[in-house]
């Protein structure tokens, strides 16, 4: 057996880049520098090939067909479920529900578990750094039921104030819904402790893994979360597919979400029995092609190795942070000790939109604005930030291009 120390542990980023066709293109006459990965990642050729292969060779509706194409399509679709189960270490494959994305996963829980279990006066705890998709579904539910939203505040570094969280917990708390990694700050939240806190008062805990699943090792059993949601497109897979993981007893006791085909066992006009998990929550023809191709994205990521990817991304994040700190008037928003991939900043007297336009003029894609986290921006008293987010295929040279682009843009703007 080979000693692990002799194995190549660093990531060959230039080899990886060759797998991503979009990274080969130019923008505004310059090589594309893509730093908008927290919004969506680019797709490797294997994912694109899986989509084409499905439509070219075995496009069929799944589950009840008795012909060959239907069997092949069903097998491929269900294989993704197995891969997802392993990817997040779920107890059973039936606990993996396919959704349209993270947003739908949260709405599903709010409209099923939430409507069944939340009553007037109950409290739902979220945090000040949530994406709108982990605020609005709970706001709607709270409005409907007369429940109350409680907010975990953050400190100036962009970390949750855990002692305040402890104070918010009470017998009124029925749900804690928390983001794992902040899309606007990159903060990694101590979700395991938060879940334990929720459980200590008998509340249920949901983790929004939209930004974490691509970077961190996810073990839902170790986290002991009741629900975990994430999206395929932020982890090198196609858009339009997401996953809801739930504890089995919860998924079994919750009412169905949407009614239709697939989610039923027997339908009479006076009596309907619902299908078993996971199909109970997968009404209608699902997004078969994208779900099938999602497996290719997870296999690709696993083959490269999340630990290697993480080490590479952390190295770039540290380098970018160092370099950005040297720019006069630039302030990094979100300085959590425990953070990943995302670097958000503001420049004195410069509007993020102007920076975004001028960086785009150099082929550099960043995101500007409030990042669908308006309460967080209000907390920092800023209208928005410029955000660069790092993925496995980014390079040190690209960070240098970003820094050079920023210097040039700031010089033009001031």
């Amino acid at each position: 057996m080979i000693e692990s120390a002799t194995i190549e542990t660093s990531l060959d980023v230039h080899a990886i880049r060759k797998h991503f066709p979009a990274l080969q293109r130019e923008v505004k006459g310059k090589p594309l520098v893509y730093f908008d990965n927290a919004a969506t990642t680019q797709k490797p050729q294997v994912v694109i090939d899986a989509l084409v292969d499905y439509y070219s060779n075995y496009n069929a509706n799944i589950h009840r067909g008795i012909h060959t194409l239907a069997e092949e399509a069903t097998a491929a679709f269900e294989a993704t479920r197995d891969t997802v189960q392993q990817f997040i270490n779920a107890e059973g494959r039936e606990q993996i529900i396919f959704t349209g994305g993270t947003t739908e996963g949260i709405n599903l829980v709010a409209q099923t578990w939430g409507r069944q279990n939340i009553k007037a006066g109950d409290e739902i705890i979220i945090s000040n750094m949530e994406h709108h998709s982990n605020i609005v579904p709970w706001y709607i539910l709270a409005q409907e039921k007369g429940a109350v939203l409680k907010i975990i505040p953050i400190n100036e570094n962009g970390e949750l104030m855990m002692e305040e969280f402890e104070n918010l917990l009470s017998e009124k708390t029925k749900l804690v819904s928390i983001v794992h990694v902040s899309n606007a700050l990159g903060t990694i939240n101590p979700v395991k402790a938060i879940i334990a806190g929720a459980h200590s008062v008998g509340a249920v805990a949901l983790v929004d893994g939209a930004q974490s699943t691509v970077h961190l090792d996810i073990d839902v059993q170790n986290l002991n979360c009741d629900f975990f949601v994430f999206s395929s497109h932020k982890i090198y897979g196609p858009t339009g597919v997401g996953v809801l993981y739930g504890k089995k007893h919860l998924l079994e006791s919750m009412p169905p979400y949407q009614g239709g085909g697939e989610m039923i066992k027997e339908v009479y006009f006076d009596n309907i029995t619902y299908n078993d998990l996971p199909y109970k929550y997968e009404a209608g023809t699902p997004n078969i092609a994208d779900t099938v191709a999602f497996k290719a994205a997870l296999d690709f990521t696993k083959a490269i190795g999340k630990d290697k990817i993480r080490a590479h991304e952390n190295e770039l994040l540290h380098y970018a942070t160092e370099q950005l700190a040297q720019i006069e008037g630039l302030k990094i928003i979100g300085k959590a000790k425990n953070k990943i991939s995302v670097i958000s900043f503001v420049v004195e007297n410069v509007h993020p939109q102007d920076l975004g336009i001028l960086l785009d003029n150099r082929g550099i894609a960043v995101r500007t604005g409030h990042h669908c986290a308006q309460p967080l921006m209000d907390c920092y008293r800023i209208p928005g930030t410029t955000r660069a987010s790092i993925a496995m295929y980014n390079t040190k040279e690209e960070i240098d291009a970003l820094i050079a682009g920023l210097h040039k843009a700031i010089k033009m703007l001031l």
Binding site: H351, Q353, D354, I357, D360, T368, P383, M412
Partner: protein, 144 residues
């Protein structure tokens, strides 16, 4: 001051832009226009004067005198301010009829639509729409 039609001013701008070799130069020019555009008085920076559909804050006010519409505007983003400055140069001081019917081809001809990401050019189009709706309102008012 010599009166110029909307189209004449548009052509002037297109000619000016044809002198630039690179987009860096075009942006330098737009930023310069933005910096030179007089600030809108704070009293006008109210919610009802905000143009919707822009990532930055854009405020636009109009005034109707002697059959002409005059615009004033501001933004917290300087490139947007430069774009507003060009729109004001083209449309301010024109008749409501001419403003409503203006094709504003110069935006396309100087490559702005293609160069700005769609979300932001939507902001630009929102500004045009807002300016035209002021003109339309004055037109209707004056015919009553």
């Amino acid at each position: 001051m010599e009166y110029k039609t909307i189209e004449e001013i548009e052509n002037e701008i297109v000619d000016e832009f044809s002198l630039f070799d690179s987009w860096d130069d075009k942006y330098e020019y737009i930023i310069d226009l933005g910096k030179k555009l007089p600030h809108l008085e704070e009293e006008y920076k109210r919610n009802e004067n905000k143009v919707r559909g822009c990532q930055s804050s854009v405020w636009l006010v109009a005034d109707y005198r002697d059959g002409k519409v005059f615009y004033k505007a501001d933004s917290d983003a300087v490139i947007v301010k430069g774009l507003i400055s060009m729109l004001i140069r083209v449309l301010s001081g024109q008749s409501p009829d001419d403003i409503v019917n203006a094709k504003l081809d110069f935006i396309n001809k100087i490559g702005m639509i293609n160069h700005l990401a769609q979300t932001r050019s939507n902001g630009l189009l929102s500004m045009v729409k807002q300016m035209k709706s002021y003109a339309l309102a004055y037109k209707l008012k004056s015919t009553v």
